[in-house]
Every structure is written in C-alpha cells, then in structure tokens.
C-alpha cells in the first residue's frame, strides 16, 4: 500500500528521481513511466523484470483512447484512468505540476492495490516535479 509522503516546497526532484521514489514508496507499484507534454518519455522505473520503456510507449496510447472514449460520453478532459484486473492494475494521471508543466504519469500495480492511495502517490509525484522547477 502507498505511504503518505510529505513533499515540501524545498524538495528538488528530477523526473527520474521522482518516478523512482514513487516505486520505492508505493509497494504495489511494479513499474512507472513519466511523459512530458509532448508525449516524450522523460523517466521510467520498474521492479526487477518489468519493461518500463515498453510501458512508457503505451502510456500515450492509453490516454488517446481514454480521451476518445470519454468524449463519447461527454467526459471531456480525462485527467485519470484506472483499469483494474484481479492480477493487476493500470493507473494513469495527467496533471500539471505547481510550475504549470503538464505531465502524464502511468503506473502498473499488483492486483488489489487501493486506487485512492495509488492516485494520491502519483499526484504527489507530479507535485514534487513542480517543486524542482
């Protein structure tokens, strides 16, 4: 389960450090990837054996499909996506950091992860990126 992390304004995290910290602090997260506004992978990290680079490639696709599905039901501006399976989950967050930069963060978790905690940890990761600006 996720561990609540306090991120102070003085924290200075690069994208890579922020993503690695997400994995270290959230026991359920098995791999994570961070994309910038242009959809380029800027950081990824994973538990041993996971292909974080491959996951990063799929992250943009996840939100493209989510946007299309969302707009069909009047849900413009999808900010978060969750796909839950018994064997694992996929979580995506698209948000701006305090410095105004837009990020897409995707995490793959073990099954049964509490979505509220995963989303909280992911949100804090994006916030921490702004602290380094």
């Amino acid at each position: 389960m996720g561990i609540v992390t306090r991120v102070s304004a003085a924290s200075a995290l690069t994208p890579q450090v922020a993503v690695e910290r997400l994995g270290e602090q959230s026991a359920d997260v098995r791999a994570a990837a961070l994309l910038d506004e242009g959809g380029n992978r800027v950081a990824s990290a994973n538990a041993d054996g996971a292909d974080a680079d491959g996951i990063a490639e799929l992250a943009a696709e996840l939100f493209t499909v989510a946007d299309a599905a969302g707009s069909r039901v009047g849900l413009d501006g999808v900010g978060r996506v969750e796909v839950a399976r018994p064997e694992g989950g996929v979580f995506g967050v698209r948000a701006r950091d305090p410095a105004g930069r837009s990020w897409t963060l995707v995490a793959v978790t073990a099954g049964g992860a509490l979505s509220s905690l995963v989303f909280y940890d992911m949100g804090m990761t994006i916030r921490a990126l702004g602290a380094s600006a």
Partner: protein, 93 residues
C-alpha cells in the same frame, strides 16, 4: 410436513448464499475501467461501451510488460541505473 418445509427452506437459503458468493466472485474477477474528469468525477466504462476493449487491451499489454504478478517486486530500478552510475545530473536526495 412442517419439518420437511423447514428443511427445504434451509437448503434453499444455502443455495442462494452459494449463488450469491459465486456472483460476487465473478464480479470481482471482471475487469473494471474508470475514467475520471480532472475535477475528480468518475465514470465507469461499460463493457459494451466504445473504447472499453481498447483500454483493456492496452492495460493487458502493460501488465504483461510489468512481469509476473507474483514475482519479487524489488529491487526497484530505472533503465538508467541499470546502465551504470554515469549520470551526474541528478542531485543527491
């Protein structure tokens, strides 16, 4: 007669309980897809809805890339870390 009716009622109750448990188990095993607005409101994507299958397929590919669910989840590392300690642009935390 009353005893037989009571027994059949008991059996029916057990059968309903088992059926409910099976339904719960099946429901728990069904994949769920949620989309959230930036403001936080959630939308459960129905299996018949457009995009459901595609989202599930992408998620399945990601889960596959993430490795076996039961495997040891540590050590946590990045591709850069695995390549060696050549990066010097990251501040110590």
């Amino acid at each position: 007669m009353t005893e037989r009716r009571a027994r059949s009622g008991k059996v029916a109750g057990i059968a309903e309980g088992v059926a409910a448990a099976v339904r719960r188990r099946q429901r728990d095993r069904e994949p769920r897809v949620f989309l959230f607005r930036r403001a936080g409101a959630a939308h459960l994507v129905a299996p018949s809805a457009a995009g459901y299958d595609e989202l599930l397929e992408i998620a399945d590919r990601m889960l596959e890339l993430a490795g076996e669910p039961g495997r040891e989840a540590r050590p946590w590392s990045s591709p850069e870390t695995r390549l060696g300690p050549e990066r010097s642009d990251e501040p110590a935390t």
